[in-house]
Subunit: 331 residues, 2 copies
Amino acid sequence: MVAGEVRAGDGLAGRSTPATGKVLLVAGTHGNELNGPWLFDAWQRDPCLRPDTELALVLAIGNPAARAAGRRYLDRDLNRSFDPDRLADAGAQALELGRARQLLAAHGSAGTDPCLVAIDLHSTTASMGNSLVVYGQRPADLALAAALQRRLGLPIYLHEADAAQTGYLVERWPCGLVIEVGPVPQGVVHPTILRQTRLALEATLEVLAEARSGPLRLPRELVLHQHLYSLDLPRHGDGAPRAVIHPLRQGRDWQPLRPGDPLFLSDAGETLPYEPGAGLGSDPVWPVFINEAAYSEKGIALSLTRRQCWPVQASWGAALAQVAATLIAAP
Amino acid sequence: MVAGEVRAGDGLAGRSTPATGKVLLVAGTHGNELNGPWLFDAWQRDPCLRPDTELALVLAIGNPAARAAGRRYLDRDLNRSFDPDRLADAGAQALELGRARQLLAAHGSAGTDPCLVAIDLHSTTASMGNSLVVYGQRPADLALAAALQRRLGLPIYLHEADAAQTGYLVERWPCGLVIEVGPVPQGVVHPTILRQTRLALEATLEVLAEARSGPLRLPRELVLHQHLYSLDLPRHGDGAPRAVIHPLRQGRDWQPLRPGDPLFLSDAGETLPYEPGAGLGSDPVWPVFINEAAYSEKGIALSLTRRQCWPVQASWGAALAQVAATLIAAP
């Protein structure tokens, strides 16, 4: 590798990136998730309230236009708009594609004010608690998630191999993950959600600072919930839903679901049990994002995961250390 | 009173109404409250699932355009659009005013398919539980609410004397109230909310049927929560919020709030206690609609009420019996 460069992560492979960069914190990627932006506003007004960190930060509201409208997005979901091919298509002019290009031009790893790590703050109507989402199996992301799990015990959703859902923001930075907190309704600023979001973010900055000054303490094992597939609500022939999440499953994200367990309740009052997909046998699965309001339009009533316990690889820590070593100190 | 006519309730005083009419059930008055419309869809598809009642019903989606858009409203809040003066203003052309006129022309007490009672199904992000809202002190409404409280113990919010919030749908029918269920995020169909909504609605229809065949059993006393005033979030000089609902108050609708109790939490982490308004002294107040997402734009963080225990008047039952006697039986 050329001196003064660090090879960027998956998705930017082969492109050179600047020697150093900042940490990008994004909130309001979805305009009706208000808790992250509320924190940013408070920190903007009174910098003393900002998380105490030695790292240089950039704070960005992901989708200001959608935030002003109080909607998740205007033209298309910004957090499904970071596919490189789509962004490269000059004919694709949705507002959110323009915003994605803008964010990358300004704060991408090759941007005018480059950032090398992206932390994207989200909330959900599902009972996800304080949790992390990582996309794919990039070593630096796995190290960051493992270190956070070691500190706070946060559950981790590994989202991958889902052709229907692609183009997440953090994938376009060399390292990054989503902090996902719930349940909270869209459009509500909630004191507990604020506190959880801040807690996870502070821990993230601490881990990055520790990885920068090294060595980073990592756990031996990483427990994560690996995406299997998503389930839609059962539907009538005309496409209208014929069931809702079963009351015994509503709010039970991260809890095992076994074949035969109640999953949906039909409009006629019939309990519809979970039937495992091909190849899953009788093993339990772990549902996440149960009844997330915004996923209804995507035909997702919940996503099923496989609970995994992976030994932490030394190479993950090395990958994170490599990125962290290039992070700029706060002025 | 002229034979064959019943004098309509407050708001229609002096207008003659037809001898008989149906019960109007409205859901989706706010387009992002999905649980009532979900029930209507199921009943439309399979009439066997409808509540068992001897009364003729009309089911209407309040704001179909807003429902299709997944938003509370398009131009203005439909449930603040029923002021007679505003409706009479031919120059006022908001979509929701047109819809209000349409509903009244079709199903008002003097409409083409007249209804004499209106039950409006709502949900809220606040922890209101299964509750009722009545507007003003119309005797028939109070009798209906009292009979429902006797059956199900539902708490009742008496909304009145609030010049900033007027023009509620049910006020334009001789008798009517809102069934308000929460907490549930906007845009979420939730099994518990469905069940609570259905339960309250079935009980309402039972009470109306009982009042029609008479005599209606009423409790001796009615406990209700009478609107005092609403509170906005504390704000900075530029109008931005400087606090959120305090974690010890979030979710505690219908529970007493005493002077000095924590009410808000500032962005700097300071607890801001409740300070009673003029004339309230040290008496407790009972907050409702704490942190309702849709009220943020109205500058309402919560509403304060006074808990009242009123002796039930015989005249209330007589007023409800008079309306109920004119209700048409199901075909």
